[in-house]
C-alpha cells in the first residue's frame, strides 16, 4: 500500500513535469506563424484609419506583454515571471485574454470546460459499456454468426464518418423518439443555475452525441478486446481451469478476461485525447457547447491565449487519463505490484 502511494506520488510528479514540457511546446508552436492576433489587428486598423482601435490594441499588447521577447512572454503566461500586473498566469489561475471574443479566456471556456468533460466521460463510458460485452462475446463465439455480426457492425461504426452518423441519428432520433436536435441543453436552461429539469434536459441531449463520438472508439476497442481475448483463450492456464471442472461462464470471466483487461485499461489514456480532438468536428456539426469549436476558431484567428489554454486543457485530460490507467494497472496486475518481491 505504501508502495502504491509512493508510486502515485511519483506518477503525479512526472505528470506535472510532462505538463510543463507540453506547455513549452504548445506556446512555441502557437507562436511559430509570423505575427500575432494584435499586430494583425493593428495593421488592419491602421490601413482602415481607425486610430482609437489602435490605441486599445496597443494597450492590450503591453498589458499581455506581447511586446516582449518570446521567452519572457512564455514565463509571464505560465505565471513564473511577473508581467505588467505582477504574477498572473496559469499557475495563479489567470488564463489570459481572448482577443477574438474580447473577454477573459476563463469566462469563455468556463461552462464549456465542464460540458466537454461531461460529453467525453459519457462517450468513454459508452465505449466501455459497448465494447466489453461485445468483444468478449465475439471472442467466446469466434467464427460464428455472433462474431461476424459484431465485427460487421464494428467496421461499419469505424467506417461511417461521425458527422454523417450525427445527422442520420438526429433525423431519426427526432422522428421516432422525439429526441432534441443539437446543443447540450434546451436553450431555456442556458446560463440558468442547475436544477433537476436542467439535468434531465442535458441527459436527453447527451444521447446522440455520446453515441456519435463513442461509436468508432467502441468499434476499435471491441476488435482489440476480441483479439486479446482470443490470444488469452489459447493460453495453457485456460486449459488448466477447464481441467479443474470450471463452468463455461466463469472460465471466460475469471481468467482470460482478467488478462485481456490490461490493454483495455491501458487504453483509457489514449481514448480521452482521441475523443476530445476527434469530437471537434462533431461538436461543430451538433452545435455542442464544448471547447472543441472554440479551439477551432482560436486556431484559425491566432487567438493565442485561448488556443493555448484549450490545448493545455486537452493535454491535462490526457495526462490524467494515463495516470488513472497506470494506477489501475498497478492495482489490477500483481506482477507490476509485487515484481520486486522476487529480487
Amino acid at each position: 500500500m505504501i508502495l502504491l502511494l509512493r508510486y502515485a506520488g511519483y506518477r503525479f510528479l512526472t505528470m506535472l513535469l510532462t505538463l510543463w514540457v507540453v506547455s513549452i511546446m504548445v506556446f512555441v508552436i502557437i507562436n511559430l506563424p509570423p505575427g500575432d492576433y494584435l499586430s494583425n489587428q493593428i495593421a488592419e486598423l491602421r490601413a482602415t484609419g481607425q486610430a482609437e482601435g489602435v490605441a486599445k490594441a496597443e494597450f492590450l499588447r503591453t498589458e499581455y506583454a506581447l511586446d516582449r521577447p518570446i521567452w519572457e512572454q512564455y514565463f509571464i503566461w505560465v505565471g513564473m515571471m511577473p508581467g505588467p500586473n505582477g504574477f498572473s498566469g496559469l499557475i495563479q489561475g489567470d488564463f489570459g485574454w481572448s482577443f477574438e471574443f474580447d473577454r477573459p479566456v476563463g469566462e469563455i471556456v468556463g461552462d464549456a470546460l465542464w460540458l466537454t468533460v461531461l460529453v467525453n466521460l459519457a462517450a468513454v463510458l459508452f465505449v466501455y459499456a459497448v465494447a466489453l460485452p461485445l468483444g468478449v462475446l465475439a471472442a467466446a463465439r469466434s467464427e460464428t454468426w455472433v462474431d461476424y455480426t459484431a465485427g460487421f457492425v464494428g467496421y461499419l461504426g469505424l467506417a461511417t464518418p461521425n458527422f454523417l452518423l450525427a445527422l442520420i441519428l438526429f433525423y431519426y432520433g427526432n422522428k421516432y423518439f422525439d429526441l432534441p436536435i443539437g446543443g447540450l441543453m434546451a436553450p431555456a436552461f442556458e446560463g440558468e443555475p442547475m436544477s433537476w429539469l436542467k439535468v434531465k434536459s442535458i441527459l436527453l441531449h447527451l444521447i446522440v452525441p455520446t453515441f456519435v463520438i463513442g461509436t468508432s472508439g467502441a468499434a476499435a476497442m471491441m476488435q482489440r478486446l476480441r483479439a486479446n481475448m482470443l490470444d488469452e483463450l489459447s493460453k495453457p492456464y485456460v486449459e488448466t481451469a477447464k481441467a479443474k471442472g470450471l463452468g463455461p461462464a466463469k472460465l471466460l470471466t475469471k481468467y482470460p478476461l482478467r488478462m485481456a483487461f490490461n490493454p483495455f485499461v491501458a487504453d483509457i489514456g489514449n481514448l480521452l485525447p482521441a475523443m476530445v480532438s476527434g469530437s471537434v468536428l462533431v461538436s461543430v456539426v451538433l452545435g455542442l457547447q464544448t471547447i472543441g469549436p472554440s479551439l477551432l476558431t482560436a486556431l484559425k484567428s491566432q487567438d493565442q491565449f485561448l488556443a493555448a489554454f484549450v490545448l493545455m486543457f486537452v493535454a491535462l485530460l490526457t495526462l490524467i487519463g494515463t495516470m488513472i490507467s497506470d494506477l489501475l494497472l498497478v492495482l489490477l496486475d500483481p506482477r507490476i505490484r509485487y515484481g520486486d518481491r522476487n529480487g
Binding site: 511519483y10 493460453k235 495453457p236 486449459e239 488448466t240 481451469a241 477447464k242 471442472g245 500483481p334 522476487n342
Partner: protein, 589 residues
Amino acid sequence: MTSLLDVDALTIGFGNAPPVVHDVSFSVSAGETLALVGESGSGKTLTCRTALRILPETAQIRGGSVTFHSGDGPVDLLGCHEHQMRRIRGNRIAMIFQEPMRSLSPLHRLGNQVGEVLRIHRDMGAAEAKRRVIEQFDKVGFVDPERAFSSYPFEMSGGMRQRAMIAMAMVAQPELLIADEPTTALDVTTQAQVLGLINSLQKETGMAVVLVTHDLGVVANMAQQVVVMNKGRVMEAGRAEHILAAPAHGYTAKLFAAAPMIPTVATPAPELTYDDVILDLKDVTKTYTMRASGWRAPVAITACRNVNLSVPRGKTLAVVGESGSGKTTCARVALGAERPDPGGEVLFRPDAGAPALPVHDMNNMQRTAFQRQAQMVFQDPYSSLSPRMRVLNALVEPMEIHGIGTKADRRDKAADMLKLVGLDPDMLHRYPHAFSGGQRQRLSIARALTLDPKLLICDEPTSALDVSVQDQILTLLEDIRDHANLSYLFISHDLAVVARIADEVAVMRAGVIVEEAPPDTLFYNPQHPYTQALIAAQPEPDITRPIDLDLVAKGAGAPTSWPEIFRFDGANAPDLRELEPGHKVRCHA
C-alpha cells in the same frame, strides 16, 4: 483387478486428413502408473486429453470409446453430458500440464487457484478450503505453505510452480491423475524431486497415474505399464520391466539407442592439454543492475562470478548448469555481446601461435574478423530463423554482410553447406516453415557455418528437439567439428548430452563453476555434491537403477545447504582447487 480407465480403439483426426491417433487401446488400474511414451507428433498428448475431453476444437473423435469406472458404475467419457464431465474434471480425474510457467494464471494467488477446485467440487467454506489447501501445500513440499497460499505464481521457481500444479490436481483426491510431460520443462534435479513427489503421493492415495513422456528414463522410474506410440499408433505395450529390459519393437529399440545416458566409467580421463587455446575467459564476472523503474530501488544481480574457462583448439568445452546458473551469460560475454565487469577479459586467438586478441577491446577490423570466426547456434530452431526469408536468403545473408564472394559463389556455398548438414540443396528455395524441428536446427548450423568460423558457440542446441533428432544433431556437430577442426563452447543443462560430445565439462551453479574436469573423470569421481546430484538425478532407462533422491536432495539445494567444506553464501565462495591434475572442485581447503 478391474481397470479404472479403459481406452478402446480410440481414433482422432483433424479435418479430412488421415487420423493422428489411430486405434489406440490401453487400460489403467487403480494404484498403477501407465506411461504413454512417444516423440512429438506421436499423438500421446491428444490421447490423454481425450479422457478429460479438452481436445482442440477442430479435433474430431472418429471412433472408439473411453470408459471411466468410478464408484457408481462406468461412465462413457466421450458420450456423457458436459455437466457430468465438469463434475469429473478436477474431481475424479485431474491433470498436470507440461509448462508450469504458463499453466497457472499469473493474476491470481496460488491459494485462490488451488482452492477453486474445492469450491467447485466440494462446496466447501472458505476457511475449510484454505485449511485443506495449506495441508496439501505442505504435502507437496512447500516450506512455508501459508506464504505459498498468498503468493503469485511469478514469485515462484518452475519447480515450485509445478508443485503447486500437483497440489491443485491432488487437492480433491482424484482417482486418476493424468500428467502430460510434467517434468519436461524443469531442470534435471527438479525433475527428480517432482517425480519422487508424484510417486509418494500415489503410494499414499492409491490413485492411478497416466504419465505422458518422451523420456524412457522417466518411464523406468515411474511406470508399471508402458505404451509406446509413434505417428498415432501403438507400437508396443506391456509391463515396464519387460519392455525396458528387452524392447521387442524396432521403434522402441531406436528410442533406447538415442536416449542420452551417463556412461559408467572405469578410469578417469587424462588431463586436457592447454597449449593452444582458441578462447580464454579470464576472471569474468558479470553484474546486471536492474534499473529502478519508477519507485523501486535498483538491484544488482551477479549472473556469473570469477569464471575462468579455456577452449583448446579443436576441442569442445561444455558448460552445464540449471536455468539461472549463469551459463548463458558466460556465452554472451564470450561472444562479445556483453562486456564483463572490470577486471575480467576474454581472449581470442584466431590461429595457433598468433597473438591473442581481447574480444572486448578490438578495433573495427579485428571485430569484423572475430564476428566471422565466432558463430552461434541458438536453442530454439523455430524462432531463430526468420519465417519470411527463404533458406537461400538466410544462408547467404552472413556472406553478404561480410562482402564475401560473388552472388554465384555465395549460392554455391549455401548449397554446399546444406549438403554438409545433410539436407538437399533443392531445399534452398523453401521457407523455414516447410522444415521439421531437426531440419531447422540443421539450417541454423548451416547458417553458422557459411562464414567458415573457427569457434562455434552452441546454446542448448538440442534441448528443443526429440531424443532421436537430438541424437542426429549431436552426431552432425561431432562430424563437423572433426571435419573442419572447429572448437565448440557448448552450453547445456543436460549432463548426459554433454557426456558424449565434450572434452571438458564445467559444472556451474549459482553463478560460479563448482567443478571442472573431462567428462570421464567427472563421472568416475564426482566430488562436488551438486555434480553428484546432477548425475544421480539423470533418469536411467533401467528399472533396476532408480533415481537416488537422497543424493539429489543433498546437492540440489542452495549453496548454503551443502556440506561444510563446499558451503558458501553469496559472494564468498571458496576457491576452485585442483584435486588432481585436470580435476578442479570449488571447496574450502
